[in-house]
Amino acid sequence: MKLPLAGVRITDFTWIGAGSYATKILADYGADVIKIESATRIDSLRMAAPYKDGKPGINRSGYFADRNTSKRSITVDMKHPKTLALVKQLIARSDVVANNFTPGVMERFGLGYEAVRAVRPDIVYLAMSMQGASGPERDYLGYGASMVALTGLQHLTGLPEREPAGTGTNFPDHIPNPCHAAFAVLAALRHRRRTGEGQYIDIAQTEPAIALLGPAVLELTVNGRTLTRNGNEHWGAAPHGVYRCAGEDRWIAICVMNEAHWPALRRVLGDPQWMAQPRWSRAASRHRDRRELDGLLERETARWNAEELMHALQARGVPAGVVQNAKDVIENDPQLGHRGHWVKLAHPEMGETIYNASPFRFSRTPTQLSRPAPLLGEHTRQVLRELAGLEEAQIESLINEGALK
């Protein structure tokens, strides 16, 4: 069946994390995403671990591969005088142009919004720099990890008595920014189908993440309170946390949210004597004495296998989940297996490796990845023949002139 974005073409200058993960979503659902790369300006994610068998190589990074499924890659040297006209030919046949450079880079290529609009008046132009196209810090640079810091997520995550923990990842790159960017592009494409109008989309990569922290902002602007981190605590429920289980670095998350959960937890744990104390049967006193309760509870959970405890608690309706590591989610999770989340694709240099499918399923549209990540420049000839109408000899001469590096 036809994928939702069949017929949509994206000239894609995005690189590294958030931009590439945004256009991956669109590529996986049928858009023809042409990744504009260059050996003179390698997408630094191609040089980021992990690599197949631990051996570095521009076509061996798993970090890069997972973010670039279903795309085609061409290499062009944007500094070569013949390149701009070629890229404009691709843009003339594209619906979207995407980049996540700091402001000014696309303009230096000769591909700012106005220049692109001159070629393709109804283009949807997605720009997603770290701080947006305007403002005193527009030229500042950073990664997802910098945004975790800038947006307040890091300050709010971890324990109050220790340094702010953050997510341990470049979190905004993986969900907030790709999703907001993809949603904005899909909305802009709808507007274009209805009116014929393209437009310019400016995403500051800090801004979607702050948009997720509305309640923390309002706590300050309305109630005058600057929140700080509070571990795994809940504002009203206890126990609500992560507890040690048997084995090396094994943990379970348990959330007792209502008055049915507590007696169910007691029964599963075999009604230990301490749990019978009246103060633990009241939500308010459980929450008041939550630190003490956490310590007592962990003495019980530490005797359990995490999976067995989760199943026993879930059988009685108590929210509980193993703190799964990468091996667990890949090999041991029957639910992700049932949903077919992990897709194996054969890559010419990496062999068969694992990719993420998208995290949703449609009743009719298939969830599929049309191809593994492209090799650097794998589709240069194909794309230039198909979209720029070049003959093999013309391509050869461009290669010899150094335009297609």
Binding site: S44, A48, A49, G54, G132, G135, E137, L141, G142, Y143, S146, A149, L153, Q154, H155, L156, T157, R162, E163, P164, G166, T167, G168, H174, P176, H180, A181, F183, A184, R193, Q199, T206, P215, V217, L218, L220, V222, N223, L227, R229, N232, V242, W251, P319, G321, V322, V323, Q324, N325, A326, V329, I330, P334, R339, H341, S358, P359, F360, S363, T365
Partner: protein
Amino acid sequence: MASDAAHSQPAALAGLRVLDLSGPLGQYCGKMFADMGADVILIEPPQGAATRREPPFIDDEPGVERSLSFAYFNTSKRGVTLDLDCAQGQALFRRLAATADLVLETEKPGVMARRGLTHAELTALRPMLVMTSITPFGQTGPYANYEAEDLIALAMGGLLYLGGYPDIAPSRVYGNQACLGASMFGAVASMLALTEAEASGEGQHVDVSMQECVVMALETAVQYYDLEGTIRKRYAGQQRFAGTGVFPCKDGYVYMMAGGIGANKFWALSVQWLLDEKLPGVERLHGEQWTRVDYLLTGEAKRIFAEVFAPFALTRTKAELYHEGQRRRIPLAPINTPADMLASPQLRHRGYFIEVAHALRGRPLLMPGAPYRLSRTPWRVGRPAPQLGEHNAEVLGEIGVVRDELESLRSRGVI
């Protein structure tokens, strides 16, 4: 509120009608549609949605019209009350669904079927209708009926394992990010299905799993296991690589990234900065070993970097380190508190925080504004979050429910 000029501009999702039955897993999805101009109708049970009981509250006092979380995540929506567990409420819902493009729901699997409101039943009335169901683990499978709060989904999705301090239990990312991730992917999936429905004339059912959405945030953990056979762990409180991590400064903390990601020039720029500052021991950061990731991962490298950089950082403020680092093209960032963000000259310049009226409070609420700026179809808050049942007469009137009927529906507790 957005300016008058913005109000005269078109909205990207004008003409789309969304019925939003969602709780915590879907409310931001509904907001994304509503702030882009879709007509999003929040459908709550007559006693009010559970999301109205979520803090913070205005002046810390609970109340159905006092939740700031609700006020934030339900902007631009209209609101009706409808008891979907009674036949009359279900009949009214079917009439609304016959006018809608998207139904968004987050009930446990099977609840909509018991109500006779499955996608199959609703598309009989409206073939192009898309229905998006967001649940903790998805509609089917061995864990489909498992209970999950945000923390459980972070655990089961593998992100929790990557966060926090190595010597103690993992720490969750703040702010219901699993619920929000499910909402964001739910919004993308819904737009994909709506796009497809426009072309094919047929809607479809979308099944979003919160756990699976969290898995998308594992960065390289899955690839490390798949390609190298190693399990990525949490490392808060330590540098990730030498030169990359949290350092205390005069008025808080900064996140220093002398290492960057992949190939880059930040290390040389960082060492030059420390040289220019004439820091004692800076020569210890010279040498070929500093170009190797395996060396940067050693305790020795991290200790040496900290011995040189940490005393210097303590003599500077977050802002001083941020601007000087950035002037030198080093991706250093301050670890901002919410107060720092409100004071940020950058966010202020962009007019990021906006005022939205609140009926009960009198004064407007200052909250985050546009997460994206679309030149032709600007994001905007069209109206404050609805009061309980605020649009009952208006919305039900649009499907032909007359005033007398409304009174009888109200007295029987249907609305």
